[in-house]
Amino acid sequence: MKLLGVAVGVAVVGVLIGFYISSYLVGNTPAFRPKATGAAGARTVNLTIQTVAAVGPSLASNHPDWVSYLVRNNQGRWERSTVWTLPANAIVHVTIYNFDGASGLRNPFLGQPQGLVGKEIVDGKPLGALPPDQPSHTFAIPELGVLALVAPVGDAAKNQCNYAPCTMAMAHRTMTFTFRTGKKGHYRWQCFVPCAAGFVYGFGGPMQTIGYMDGFVNVV
């Protein structure tokens, strides 16, 4: 009788421990692997990203008002994933459609693109540097030395996007740039524009959560 009670107790504790551990495992967005072309060692990858002011309840029920990146998956639909798997020693062409307004940088130095192959093109024109109050977001992989700016949608623009996913008909800016992945590794990427409304220094909330303004680049 006692043995049964202890066995039940152990089982209950085991379930609770499993529940506890699993509560820490949530929050991983699924990894996305864009299709790569070209031979091994000289691959090319196209990555298309959308930045939105608010991710919306359909894509993130617990944080519908947080800013986020969406990536266009291999089926052509927008999904919220900030963990991307890229091949090593590859050329990555990135296109960013930005639907969000300006927030501004905390450190103006980060207004100039770094570590790219060639220049960053914003709406067809090469970018030197953005004034510090202009950037809407940045896309940065510090370990690879990559930093690209995301130019803002003007405050007075018509037909702004409220919730993701946004369509090309809405007001947006287009950025294209290219970077090289190097050796295999596990690199983090982040945004340097403090765009998290309401948080101290704008760096809380989505700025500190993988799946919104932070993620990983797994180079394999």
Binding site: Y20, S23, G27, W66, A197, F199, Y201, G204, Q208
Partner: protein, 629 residues
């Protein structure tokens, strides 16, 4: 005045109605939602202003606070104040029933509170330990991402916060509450209801901290440094409320201990005859009482920074992050001595019993404990040596920190000389006490490294300081905790814990503990900072070694759990009244200890460690259980 309640066979649902844990939980949940609702309506408009933040710290904080209030009312803590408000005279209500239901509510019997503490602290210790195992799983490979980076930080913070908050009462809670009245010849503690309150506050706090992950966790580690604190998600509020409640619990616990030991000693028990464990309790209680309010104050300021946009700690609003760091460590340093001093008291209490000699250098040991208490207030800035504090002050803090090793050394001298030329009898409590000396030696010496400013530049914020405090806190406090459990379990529970399992537990724990934390010194010297989710590739072998050892260390806890459950539920070998043949007062009482402890308050005529002197004889180990006092 006591009321006797006769145990009738009422149906179970009727027995559940009343002030108890279940009612407490129900009222607590209701209280949470009331608080949440109020917070939501106070800040509705400002939440819209800060749109995009998707969190309402006022709601959550108020929810927690009113939840705790509801919890305490449900347990029955409101009954006596309400009676007094209505004009009833002071009374001391006690539940006279000897049933297990006493353990699930407000009970004013200090022995019940002691056992409640032991189970409650054990529960949260295991949760904190589980977090540690998960941390080590994450650190098995540099590039692994078992847990998302943000959740990893919450794991680290949860582990540290849970341990630091719960283990401060690890010895004062179970053992001081149970045994201080028995050792000083009293029938109860000075404030029995407050005693129970400290326990239930701690349980509420632990439950609140466990819910942090559902609010997003917190990224600051147990120290909660600003401004990162203000930046964090709602999970940070769990941390702030947890620590504030722990602070209140600590303060009241210290108050109770001091009041009891100062005012309720039996006739003849002068200060120079007080058992050294009680001196350890006194010195810890002084720190509890005085340091906890500083913690509550600084956490309150942090709550205001987070909720109503004050800027105590934000330089852009005129505040300073240094303010938080200094206030926190004014509490934080005495806090670690709150962790260390009871351990010293325990091992000095246990050694005479097993060396069969009086405690060597009693007065020196007492001055060692009190010296640590005094000096612990003067050292806190050694946590801030490279943070940009006033440069000239650092040699002073280096000196004061190194001076603390002198009174600590007194404990070592007295303990070691007690063993000298003794008649040492091995037992599991003695093994843990001996291990305490070894672990605290390593911990203390590494503390000397950290107190030396040039050496601190190398090791601050690295795994070296982690190894240091794990050696002193886990190697010191936790080993002393187990020594105390094995030592006093026969009296507390009336059953013997299996000795062979206990020895296996000790050896597995001691070896795996050293194997886990000794390499951390090297890892720190080799440049790995604390609280990092990734590390340099060349450190992987050492990290793996540490992780595997940590899993074995966790396993040793399971051995203990098995022993505990098996001995108390299945083997049930009745313990003799005085299995260790101790001459100490608590062992002269029968097992189980009667409800009012002593039939007649004893008169103390001699000093507490009379081993070797003629005429002093304890009731022998083989004597009958349940003799008269």
């Amino acid at each position: 005045m006591s009321t006797t309640v006769v145990e009738t066979h009422r149906p179970i649902w009727r027995r559940l109605i009343g002030f108890n844990l279940l009612t407490g939980i129900v009222f607590g949940v209701v209280g949470y939602y009331i608080g949440w609702f109020i917070g939501h309506h106070i800040t509705g408009a400002s939440v819209a202003y800060f749109s995009g933040i998707d969190q309402n710290d006022i709601s959550v904080t108020l929810g927690y606070l009113l939840g705790v209030g509801g919890f305490l009312i449900g347990l029955g803590f409101g009954v006596y104040p309400w009676a007094r408000i209505r004009g009833y005279p002071p009374s001391l209500r006690e539940k006279e029933t000897q049933g297990a239901s006493r353990y699930f509510g407000l009970c004013t019997d200090h022995k019940v509170v002691g056992i409640q503490y032991m189970i409650g602290i054990g529960l949260f210790f295991f949760i904190g330990g589980l977090n540690a195992m998960l941390i080590r799983v994450e650190l098995l490979r540099p590039a692994s991402q078992v847990f998302p980076a943000g959740q990893y930080l919450t794991l680290v913070g949860m582990h540290g916060t849970m341990m630091m908050g719960i283990m401060t009462s690890a010895i004062l809670g179970p053992f001081a509450n149970y045994f201080v009245p028995l050792m000083i010849g009293a029938r109860r503690m000075a404030f029995p209801r407050i005693e129970s309150l400290t326990f239930w506050l701690l349980m509420a706090a632990g439950a609140i901290l466990t819910t942090t992950i559902f609010f997003g966790g917190f990224p600051t580690g147990w120290t909660g440094y600003e401004p990162l604190n203000s930046q964090a998600n709602t999970g940070m509020d769990s941390y702030l409320v947890f620590f504030a409640l722990v602070g209140i619990s600590m303060c009241l616990l210290g108050l109770n201990m001091l009041a009891t030991i100062i005012t309720m000693r039996a006739p003849g028990l002068t200060w120079s005859r007080l058992p050294i464990f009680c001196w350890g309790v006194v010195s810890t209680a002084i720190l509890n009482l005085l340091a906890a309010p500083v913690l509550i104050a600084v956490l309150g300021m942090a709550v205001f920074d987070r909720t109503v946009q004050t800027t105590f700690f934000n330089p852009q609003g005129g505040g300073s992050p240094y303010l938080y760091q200094n206030l926190f460590w004014v509490f934080g340093h005495p806090e670690v001595y709150i962790l260390a001093l009871p351990g010293m008291g325990i091992v000095l209490e246990i050694l005479p019993v097993f060396a069969r000699k009086p405690l060597w250098g009693y007065r020196l040991a007492v001055s060692g404990l009190l010296g640590v208490t005094l000096l612990s207030w003067l050292v806190w800035q050694h946590h801030l040596f490279v943070s940009g504090i006033n440069s000239d002050l650092r040699p002073f803090y280096m000196l004061s920190t190194e001076l603390i090793s002198i009174p600590t050394g007194f404990t070592f001298l007295c303990g070691l000389m007690t063993l000298w030329r003794g008649q040492i009898r091995f037992s599991v409590p003695l093994l843990f006490s001996l291990a305490w000396f070894f672990n605290f030696l390593i911990g203390g010496l590494s503390g000397v490294f950290l107190s030396d400013v040039p050496s601190d530049v190398t090791t601050h914020g690295s795994f070296f300081s982690m190894a240091h405090f794990h050696y002193t806190i886990m190697g010191g406090l936790v080993f002393a905790f187990f020594a105390a459990i094995y030592f006093w379990a026969p009296k507390m529970f009336g059953y013997t814990l299996n000795e062979r399992l206990g020895k296996i537990h000790f050896w597995v724990m001691f070896i795996s503990f050293n194997s886990t934390f000794a390499p951390l010194f090297a890892i720190g010297f080799l440049g790995q900072p604390r609280r990092t989710v990734t590390y340099a590739q060349h450190l992987q072998f050492l990290n793996d070694w540490v992780s595997i050892s940590a899993f074995i260390l966790g396993g040793s806890m399971l051995i203990f759990l098995y022993n505990f459950v098996y001995s108390l539920l299945f083997a049930r070998i009745r313990a003799p009244q005085n299995p260790w043949s101790s001459v100490s007062l608590e062992w002269q009482l029968p097992t189980p200890v009667p409800l009012h402890n002593f039939d007649r308050i004893p008169v103390i005529t001699g000093e507490p460690y009379g081993y070797g002197s003629p005429g002093i004889a304890a009731i022998p180990a083989a004597g009958p259980a349940g003799g008269s006092a």
